[in-house]
């Protein structure tokens, strides 16, 4: 396969979320002002023209307010007729006079209404759409849609085939970036198209029974490395977001082309398929400019960006589809449960840094090659957590899928206390000396095997006082099993008789933000070779246990219904658990083995649903 598919989406938003900079001066209760509407339609028309001039078809996402605007409805019909654009639907842009009169609410986020209102709005706006166009939409979207709402939509409106269901890694980082005022707290989803589980939108479906019935799309295609430590709203297929990040000089933004080209490279890791979604809301192209950037640059950046896609199309390197066409194509050509894979290289900071991403129905894993190939973010999709969001739910605004490792939110390799924060790494010991492999910068190479995806990490050199060694690491992801085989091989040594000790460890906790969550009641176990089990219920008492010859070590984190285990595949390995304490709120598991030159330790990291 050789397929790079593009969705260009435009929405006529008659009261754009961003356009109204005068809001700060208290002039805007009258949000339906004529100029705003006409400017918004002008922007929509401009965006549509830019796409069509470059030979690209679009999906027009009709907002609630646009369904009351005759001019807009007429435009959509004409675009559909003349260019074959899809007339789709969105829950963005809900807020308008008609909406407020009917619902008496200023809420703007579809996923945050109470469930009864969500359902009412779905029926109301889909029926309104049908009245206007004579048919129901087959695509919809929001910044986030929880599984409970998608299930409702599918039951009532089974013709819906696809939705923009989340914004990739819009979570605490973006919340901070927006002065803690933009409540898109939804970390933890895949970065490209996927089929969600019926239980949780973020998690990839296990099988046909678990298939929620839509193809989910992430709002924008983002830079998989830059977003790890930065707000994603500066690093995506959205030129004005790039301008927001000040990644430009006058009207030059080569980074936006680099981003698209790196998404072309992603075909290499996904059996020839890659995907881009371009989706710029009208508020980003207002005549009044956006922050420091004048209209001239906002407009030109969009023209240049779309022209590049047009150029790729003319060279046969990209195929434009509407959202529904893409959903049909995806259903026919991509496996339901992934995997989705990305090996992303830095194209912005001038480093050799790389990040590896892997997702299937069991987990989403981020590996930071700069940290020796440590796992720095792990979301246990296997647990298929029921976690509805919005008013009246426990999570309310916090729509993220919880992590069980997050090295940036939860300290990782560097802490102010003895020991590490959340990270999956390995320590190498020689005599009294110890080196954490996460201190060794490296890069990776991708490979595939039968039913598995492989990340080969370039060997790292480790220097002890009287010994220099090289250690090679390989991750083998056994597709849709929840298992990763991690091999650590001792491949070079300044002393051929030297022995080193490998400590393959996982420091874990759970949460959705930077702040600690309760670990009380987690169960840590060491299971010895003879089957005996030493078990502990977490109480922050800093207890630990180790054994010389083990079957496995495991932790059950009931708060996220997840069991995580380290299972040595090599003979005669030791193992341990460490409980942690309130100033070091993690749990730790490890597998330990002493090896000589050309020997290896292979450990299986397994993530399962805990009943």
């Amino acid at each position: 396969m050789d397929k790079f598919i593009l969705n260009v989406i435009h929405r006529p938003e008659l009261v754009p979320e961003y356009i109204d900079t005068s809001a700060q001066e208290g002039q805007t209760e009258e949000v339906s002002k004529k100029e705003v509407v006409s400017e918004s339609l002008d922007i929509f028309r401009l965006q549509q023209n830019i796409a069509h001039q470059n030979g690209l078809r679009t999906t027009i996402q009709m907002t609630y307010s646009s369904l009351f605007n005759d001019e807009c409805i007429e435009m959509a019909k004409q675009y559909h007729q003349e260019f074959g654009d899809e007339i789709g639907h969105t829950f963005l842009g809900l807020n308008c006079k008609e909406f407020r009169d009917k619902y008496h609410s200023k809420e703007l986020a579809m996923w945050l209404f109470p469930m009864d209102l969500k359902q009412k709005i779905v029926v109301d706006s889909f029926e309104l759409f049908k009245d206007v166009f004579g048919f129901y939409p087959t695509s919809t979207g929001s910044y986030f849609l929880d599984a409970e709402l998608i299930n409702f939509i599918k039951e009532k409106y089974p013709m819906i085939k696809t939705a923009i269901a989340t914004c990739f890694e819009e979570g605490p980082k973006i919340f901070r970036h927006t002065n803690s005022s933009w409540y898109t707290l939804m970390d933890g989803s895949p970065w490209t198209a996927w089929i969600p589980s019926k239980k949780n939108t973020h998690a990839i479906a296990e099988n046909e029974d678990d298939d929620i019935g839509i193809v989910a799309l992430p709002h924008l295609s983002r830079d998989l490395l830059a977003i790890m430590d930065n707000a994603g709203d500066m690093f995506g297929t959205h030129p004005q977001n790039i301008i927001r990040g000040l990644i430009y000089e006058d009207d030059r933004l080569p980074y936006m082309y680099n981003l698209v080209d790196q998404y072309q490279v992603m075909k290499k890791f996904n059996k020839g398929f890659s995907y881009n979604l371009a989706y710029v809301g009208p508020g980003w192209m207002g005549k009044g400019g956006r922050w420091e950037a004048p209209y001239r640059i906002l407009k030109k950046s969009y023209e240049d960006f779309i022209a590049y896609y047009g150029h790729l199309k003319s060279e046969g390197k990209i195929q434009d589809m509407t959202m529904t066409e893409f959903a049909d194509w995806f259903r026919g050509n991509q496996p339901r449960s992934g995997p989705l894979v990305g090996l992303w290289k830095d194209l912005l900071y001038g480093t050799k840094n790389q990040a590896f991403w892997y997702a299937d129905s069991k987990f989403r894993v981020q590996i930071d090659l700069k940290q020796g190939g440590a796992i720095t973010d792990l979301r246990p999709y296997a647990s298929k957590l029921t976690r509805p969001c919005g008013a009246g739910t426990k999570a309310n605004q916090d729509a993220s899928y919880p992590y069980i490792v997050h090295s940036r939110y939860r300290a990782g390799a560097f802490t102010h206390y003895a020991g590490e924060g959340a990270i999956k790494s390995c320590k190498v010991r020689h005599g009294a000396e110890e080196v954490d492999v996460s201190a060794c910068r490296t890069t990776g190479a991708y490979d595939e095997g039968e039913g598995c995806r492989i990340l080969n990490i370039r060997p790292v050199e480790i220097e002890f006082a009287n010994l220099t060694i090289k250690l090679a690491t390989t991750y083998t992801f056994k597709e849709n099993t929840g298992e990763i085989l991690i091999s650590r091989k001792f491949i070079e040594s300044s002393d051929p008789n030297a022995k080193i000790e490998i400590d393959e460890f996982l420091a874990s906790c759970w949460g959705t933000t930077e702040y600690p969550e309760d670990l009380t009641g987690c169960v840590l176990s060491v299971i010895e070779k003879d089957g005996s089990r030493n078990e502990l219920s977490y109480e922050y008492r800093c207890r630990e246990y180790a054994a010389d010859n083990i079957q496995s070590v495991e932790a059950v984190i009931p708060h996220v219904q997840t069991k995580v285990s380290l299972i040595p595949q090599s003979p005669k390995c030791g193992g341990y658990y460490e409980e942690g304490y309130s100033f070091a709120p993690n749990l730790k598991l490890g597998v330990v083995k002493t090896i000589g030159l050309n020997e290896e330790l292979v450990t299986c990291l397994k993530v399962e649903q805990a009943k």
Partner: protein, 77 residues
């Protein structure tokens, strides 16, 4: 002291920018000065532009073009 207003250009606070917060500056006509309502930054337009330029320095490859071939070549490095 007079009322702060949005300036002719809606600059973000450079100090807040450096700590990953987008926060609009206000402009004080009387003093010909921008200031931040969140932090203690205040200054002239030139200082804003100077700090924006400093902010951009972290993007060492900001103006560099990497094609598909360039990115694939990175795999072989």
């Amino acid at each position: 002291m007079s009322q702060g207003r949005a300036g002719k250009i809606n600059y973000r606070c450079p100090n807040c920018l450096f700590r990953d917060i987008d926060f609009d500056l206000l402009y004080d006509k009387e003093e010909n000065q921008y200031y931040c309502r969140r932090c203690n930054w205040e200054g002239m337009e030139e200082e804003i532009l100077f700090q924006y330029a400093a902010y951009k320095r972290k993007y060492k490859d900001m103006l560099k073009r990497y094609t598909v071939e360039d990115i694939l070549a990175k795999d072989e490095e």
